[in-house]
Structure formats: C-alpha cells, structure tokens
C-alpha cells in the first residue's frame, strides 16, 4: 500500500508539466508557408516532416493507387540523377528519406546528420520539383506494388481493413485502399505520375514541421530553397463524406487460423467541438491499451484475444471510430458479443469519475513523451498541423483536456457509441462453439 500512496502523492506534481518543458514556434515566411520548428542542438541531426495534400482520396477514377505510386517514385531519380545514383547519393550521406501516403496526405520524412543537411535538402528539392519518372523505375515500382497487394491478400487484418473501408465509406474517395488495386496500378502511366506530382506536390496547403540542430534562419533558407519552386495552387479537397457506415456484419471468407475483425462507427471530425471529449471517451473504452474497458473485458477476463483496440480516425472530410480484434474462429462470435455488451454499457452509463480522472492524468502526463526526441517532436508537430491546429495548441492541449467534464464525456459517449450503428467486417470464418 505504501507504494501506491507514493505514486498518488507524486501525481500532484503532474499539473505543471506541459508547455514550459518543450514547445515549438511558427516561422514567419514571405510566402506564408506553415512551418513549425523546435530548435535543439543536443544531437548533430535534423528531422523534418513535410505534409502535402496528396493522399489517395485525390486518386482519379480508374487510377486507384496513383498518389502512393507517385510517392514511391520520389527517391527513384530526379533532374540529371537516375534512380541508382539518387539512392547512392542518399546512402553516401546516411540520409533517411521516407514517404508515406494516407487518404488525405503524402507525408515526407527526412532525417539527416546536420553536417549533411545542405545536401539532404538539395536532394529533396530535386526529388519534389524535378522527378524523372524513368520507364524502368516505373516498371520496377509497379511490380513491387502489385506484389505487395498480393501479399496483403494473405493477411486477414489487411483484408478486413480493406473491406471495412469499402463498405463503411461507400462511394467516397476514402473507400479505396491507399495502396490502390491491380487494375488501377496497371492503368497508371508516366504522364499520370508526372501530372499528379506537378499538381499535388505543391506549395499550397503544404505543412512543414522540423526539429533539431538548425537555427530558425537556416530553416527559413532551407524551406525557401526546397519548397519555394513548387507550384502554388492547392488541389481542391474532396467533398464531405455524406453517409458513413453499413451497419451489420460482413464476412470475407478466408481459411485462416485466426480471423480478424474491423468494426467501426461514424465519429466526429477534428474541428468538431466534441472531438476532445470523444478522444477521452475512446481512450476509456478502447484506446487506452491495458487501461481500456475492452482490453479488460475481452483479453484480461476472458482470454479471447491478444490485442483489442479502438481509435478515432480523424480524416479531413469524415470522422470515424475504428476498432480491431483478432481471435480464433470459434471465439469470434463471443468476442463480438462482448464488444457490443461493453460498448452498450459504456454508452448507457458513461465513464466513472475515477476513469475520467485516470484518462486525464494519462493523456496529459504522457504528452511530454512525444517530445523526447527530434524525430518524435517533428512527427507530433506535423500531426497537429495536419489536424488543422495552430502552433499554440502545444501549450493549450493539456488545459483543454483537463477542462473536459464527466457530463461532456457521458453525452458524447451516448451519442457516438451506438452498437446499433456498428459496421463489422470479419476476414476469416465465424463459427459457433
């Protein structure tokens, strides 16, 4: 008991943690780029994350996978440097360039030793403004992407996620896989890639977050030289998703040892005033790992799964709540029944005051950990940028979470966690015991 008293006593000190310990500033630049920066000279390295409005929701009809395909070509040669020479140029300087595409964004992460920063950004500038899209590189990447799709077909978690998006988002551009489909990938040609890069790897709507061993003046120069030459016109956002969800259970037959389920509900978008209460509610129900009700009921009490979790998916044009669980075929029905029961009870009664207090101390107390490294800092700042927040959110965030009331969370939990609206997709089989 002494030990628990010690921790509870120590918790009083939690409140002051926050903005003082870390932070970021926004640079004021001539062209109005959105650049957030956390300067730190402890290590001789820099991390920069640039988010372009170039996600898979911009894929044109019949060319599913174009955004990803273009992103995969980013390190395949630029200007007078072919694919092989470009890869060597990165590797010679231990420059780490990685590109990820989601449904809204193409996110470019560059990590470099500060001694090589100048060369690193020169290479990135070339890759963005003058991509070569050579025929042999296009053919190679297309084959890799097609094989990746084939390999995803082995994996029930991939199959379930893909089918969930298809049924949940209906006709919206969010419905198809970010990785595309075989027909789409095969239909994409060099001109498509070139046009996509020119119209989507642009200055308009671009968000940049950097952390590490640079000065603000150096970063301003880098931003100007690297991103300045890109096109200015921001591509139009897709429309708001009108209808979300296809309630009921959808089964994709697969003969696997452990079927996977993806389940989801309509959620709230990031700018909704209910977003933070929903975030806290989700933490308590399924987002909090071992602290969540779903883990307690499905894993700890019944041993039905290794992992169950839910998260808020805050896409720009749709909000959703998505959960994952995997279990053996003859336990899937019991698992899904348990999920429904736990969710129903949570929607009806909401959290206890203790659960809300615990959620707040976790969510506020864990926040500084996101800023413990240059890469972590750049990636957290970048996530806030993509969510449409302003730079002072870093300082305000913990206060906003602490201000949430039990009534807020109860109201939002009742509104969102409606088991009658659950869309469930199982990849595998569902057997009764």
């Amino acid at each position: 008991m002494r030990m628990r008293a010690l921790l509870i006593g120590a918790m009083v000190a939690l409140a002051p943690l926050g903005a003082q310990a870390f932070g970021a500033k926004q640079l004021k630049l001539a062209k109005g780029e959105e650049v957030w920066f956390a300067e730190d000279h402890t290590l001789p390295m820099v991390a920069l994350v640039a988010s372009f409005p170039a996600g898979s929701s911009y894929d044109p009809p019949g060319k599913n996978g174009l955004a990803s395909f273009a992103a995969s070509m980013m390190d395949e040669g630029a200007a007078n440097t072919n694919s092989r020479a470009f890869h060597d140029a990165l590797a010679d300087r231990a420059i780490q360039l990685s590109v990820q595409t989601d449904r809204d964004w193409t996110v470019v992460t560059l990590v470099t030793l500060s001694a090589n920063a100048k060369d690193a950004f020169k290479l990135l500038a070339m890759a963005l403004a003058k991509p070569r899209f050579d025929g042999d590189a296009i053919a190679r990447v297309r084959t890799q992407m097609l094989q990746n799709l084939a390999q995803q077909d082995e994996d029930p978690s991939e199959v379930a996620a893909r089918e969930f998006n298809r049924v949940f988002f209906g006709g919206h551009p969010y419905a198809h896989s970010t990785d595309g489909d075989p027909a789409g990938l095969n239909a994409i040609n060099r001109i498509d890639l070139k046009n996509f890069a020119a119209s989507h790897w642009v200055h308009g709507g671009l968000k940049i977050a950097a952390a590490g061993d640079l000065t603000a003046a150096q970063l301003a120069d880098i931003v100007k030289a690297t991103f300045g030459p890109l096109g200015a016109k921001q591509p139009p956002l897709p429309s708001r998703a009108a209808r979300l969800g296809a309630p009921g259970i959808h089964v994709v037959k697969m003969d696997v040892p452990q079927p996977n389920a993806v389940f989801g509900l309509p959620g709230v978008i990031r700018s909704d005033k209910d977003f933070l209460p929903a975030y806290v509610a989700n933490y308590i129900l399924g987002g909090g790992g071992f602290a969540s009700r779903l883990t307690a009921d499905v894993r700890e009490k019944k041993g039905l799964t290794y992992d169950i979790s839910t998260e808020l998916s805050d896409l720009r044009r749709a909000g959703a709540i998505e959960g994952l669980v995997a279990t053996r075929a003859d336990a899937m029905q019991e698992t899904l029944d348990t999920v429904r029961e736990t969710m129903t009870r949570f929607a009806d009664q909401g959290p206890t005051p203790q659960e809300l207090a615990d959620a707040k101390t976790y969510l506020t107390g864990s926040f500084p950990r996101a800023f413990a490294s240059n890469q972590g800092t750049a990636s957290q700042l970048s996530a806030f940028q993509r969510a449409g927040l302003s730079v002072d959110y870093v300082a305000k965030r913990n206060g906003l979470i602490n201000a949430i009331t039990l009534d807020d969370v109860k109201r939002v939990a009742k509104k969102l966690f409606d088991p009658g609206k659950l869309t469930v997709v199982v990849a595998g089989t569902v057997k009764s015991k």
Binding site: L6, D88, A91, A94, Q147, A291, R369
Partner: protein, 436 residues
C-alpha cells in the same frame, strides 16, 4: 550509501559520444544510466538474463509466457494494478522476450521514476501467481501466437528455417513456443521459473533520460537494494555440433500468395566472434543488402530484373551463435533456381575480392550514422546497452562500436564472406504458394 561497487564514465574524450555510467548494487543488480536532458521523461528497463533457451524440455514458450505473468499482480499491487498505475501516471509499459533475455520497461515522466521502480521491485520479489490468472493468460498467448506466427506464412516459414538451422541448440525452438507445449504450461512451472531466474543478481537496470547518475543511484538503492539475491539455476552451456551438410527446405503453403527465397547461415555472434569479425559481418550485410544502394538490390532487382526486392541482415546480438540472412522475392515468372544462381554469383564475388572503396565507405557511413540516430531515442539507447550487457558484452563495447566499424578493412569483409557464408552452415529455403 556507498553501494556503488564500480563507477565508470564512458565518455569524455569524444564529446560526440553518449555518456553511460555503470555501477552495481550489493545484491548484484547491475545499473546503467544514460542521461538525456532534452525532455522531462525517463525510460526504465529491466533486463533479466533469462529467455527462451531456458525453457525446460517440453515447455517451449515458458519464458515468454512468464513475461506475461509478470503483469498479473502481487499482493501489494493485485491484478492489473501495475499497468493501471503506470498509465494513470502518464506512462507506457510493456515487455519482450527473446531466446537470451527478457526485458520490461516503463517510459514515464521523470518525477514518477521512483514509483515505477517501486512497482518493478515489488514484482521482482512478490509475484502472486494464481491458477485463476494462468488459464486466461495461456489463451492470450495462444492468440498472440496465431496473430504473429500462424496467420503469417512468412513467419511460419522463418520458424521452420530456424528449427532446421539448429541441430541441437534451443535457438531452434520458437521463443513463443510450440502450441502443444504452450498448453502444458501451468502454475507450478511458472512458479518454479520465477524462483530460479527472477532476482536482482540476474538483472540489469538501465535508465535513460532526464536524470543524473546520482539520482538514479539513490532511487535504485531505495527501491531495489532490499530485494534479496537468490540462488540462480545455472544456465546450460549448450553445444551445437558442427553441421556436416547444407540443408534445403521447400515449403509449399496454401496461404502464401507470393514466393520467397531465403538462406540463413549460422555465423559467430558478437559474443563469440574474434576481434573485428562481427563488425566485418555487420559491414558485409550492409554492403550486400542493407538498402536500395546495396549489391543484391542493384544486381537482382535493378540490373538483372530477377527479383522485386532483395536484402541481407546480420543478427549478431546473441550469447551463442548469430545468424546471417539473405532474402529475395522473385519477379513473377522467374524460377527459383535462376534467382539462387544469381545470388550465389554475388556471394562468390564478395568472397573473392574486397569491396569497392566507395561502396565500403558508404556502408560504414550508414552504420556509423545509425549509432547517432539511435541516440535520438531513449528507448533505443537503453535497449542497446541492455541487450549488449545481457549477452555478456560491456558498455565499452557499445561505445566503441562505431570506431570498430570504421576500422573494418576491406579484405576482412571478403574474408568473413569466404569463411562464414558457407553452404554447410546454412539452410536454403523456398516458400511457394500452393495452387488451391
């Protein structure tokens, strides 16, 4: 309070190198401290020198199962109090098990370190194993196995390769265990395992983050010094007989959609190798298959267009043998024997002539930079030291690694390719999709 039997400062001469401090408590617990003052948070890791190799015959998976049981409560912190308390304080906790060691960690605000230490000290001495917790946790582990291994044709394939590579050594048994043997694990076996392996004299505490060595010494003394040392079950000295012939393995899987070629060699680990040998193997792996600038990728994927991806890796952080792995995904329509022939040609060349100077410099630059990038993460730094000490290396070995990589001569790279990548010491394996 003079519990520090040894205090050494690794750092100083080179301002660029990270500082790591080491001392021991009187009960035998080793402590390493890696200050990093950038954010008010710390990472605590406890590494026990016990893992899958210590599973008794017929009970593969016990060490990993036991790692799970460490979260099932003590009398003072019953049930899931441990993880709930860490979460309530803004922390993250988890654990992992390998063949050689089992590690537990918490990432938490620095003013919560004392509490996290109190919780770890409590479960090191006072775990409360009940039948009620054992049965559901066994089901959880079987689900974990289905998720990580049984559902994944490549993971099953790798499990078969490891089993085939080792003739006798328990590295050939999966850490998570064979399903039939996991089912035989009960409370008595778990209690016995705990009594013989979980003790401060079998543990290495690593703290990275916003703390000084004096703070950690005082906190560790207060939390852990009272945990008594225990008599440990001596670890077996496993023999692994010489392999007298290469092994070839063909796995046809109805679940696999994509064919895969792999070859795994048994090679010396960092713990076993002659000076410079493991570093040469590390350099060879980077040269052959570390990234898109590597030889295998350039020859097989870009030039000959036989594969969609190809690479190599050296897994050298083991107490006993390490492994060196090659893989390639054939392009649709390319025969496995054609692919293998091309891989063997690359290997023959690597064994015959020392690497091109530019290529060697590039590989070293990448490896040395990886040590700098690792310093960006408390978790990665704490892991580097914990892992090294768990297999019998020292903090000096970790610190000097970039220098030793820099010193690897080109002809030593060719020599390890010649001496260590030999067919007799390998399993060559093909995974092919079975037609339905």
């Amino acid at each position: 309070m003079a519990t520090a039997s040894l205090l050494l400062v690794a750092g100083g001469a080179d301002a660029e190198a990270p500082k790591a401090f080491q001392f021991a408590l009187q009960n035998g617990m080793q402590v390493v401290v890696i200050p990093d003052r950038r954010a008010p948070v710390v990472t605590q890791m406890i590494w026990f020198k016990v893992g899958g190799v210590d599973d008794p015959q017929g009970l593969s998976g016990l060490a990993h199962f036991f790692e799970h049981m460490m979260f099932r409560g003590t009398k003072k912190a019953p049930g899931d109090t441990f993880s709930q308390t860490i979460a309530r304080n803004g922390g993250e906790d988890n654990a992992f098990t390998t063949h050689d060691y089992t590690a537990f960690y918490e990432e938490i605000a620095k003013d919560r370190l004392a509490g996290a230490m109190a919780l770890e000290a409590d479960r090191m001495a006072n775990l409360d194993l009940s039948d009620k917790a054992v049965a559901p946790e066994r089901d959880v582990v079987l689900e974990e196995r289905r998720m990580r291994i049984d559902n994944d044709p490549q993971a099953l394939f790798n499990e078969q390769i490891d089993a085939a590579l080792m003739l006798s050594h328990p590295y050939g048994r999966p850490v998570i265990g064979w399903p039939e043997e996991i089912r035989h694990i009960g409370r008595a076996e778990a209690q016995d395992f705990y009594n013989h392996h979980y003790a401060p004299n079998n543990a290495i505490l690593v703290v990275a983050g916003d703390v000084s060595v004096d703070e950690v010494r005082n906190l560790a003394q207060a939390a852990y010094a009272k945990v008594p040392a225990r008599e440990l079950l001596p670890r077996a000295a496993f023999a692994e007989p010489p392999r007298m012939g290469e092994t070839r393995l063909n796995v046809s899987s109805k679940d696999a959609k994509v064919p895969l070629f792999m070859r795994e060699y048994r090679v010396p680990s960092y713990a076993e190798a002659a000076p410079g040998q493991a570093e040469a193997l590390e350099t060879l792996a980077q040269l052959l298959g570390g990234d898109y600038s590597s030889t295998l990728y350039k020859r097989l994927v870009v030039e000959k267009r036989l594969a969609t991806n190809a690479g190599a890796s050296y897994d050298g952080y083991h107490r006993d043998a390490g492994s060196f792995t090659l893989f390639a995904y054939p392009r649709p329509g390319v025969r496995m024997d054609v692919l293998e022939h091309a891989i063997d040609a690359v290997l023959a060349n690597a064994a015959k002539t020392k690497p091109d100077a530019k290529d060697l410099a590039r590989a070293k630059t990448q490896l040395v930079a990886s040590a700098t990038y690792r310093r960006d993460s408390q978790f990665a730094m704490a892991s580097a030291y914990g892992q090294a000490l768990s297999i019998g290396l020292t903090v000096f070995d970790v610190r000097a690694w970039p220098d030793r990589i820099q010193q690897v001569p080109g002809d030593q790279v060719a020599k390890v390719a010649r001496d260590n990548l030999i067919k007799r010491e390998s399993v060559t394996a093909e995974l092919t999709p079975a037609s339905p």
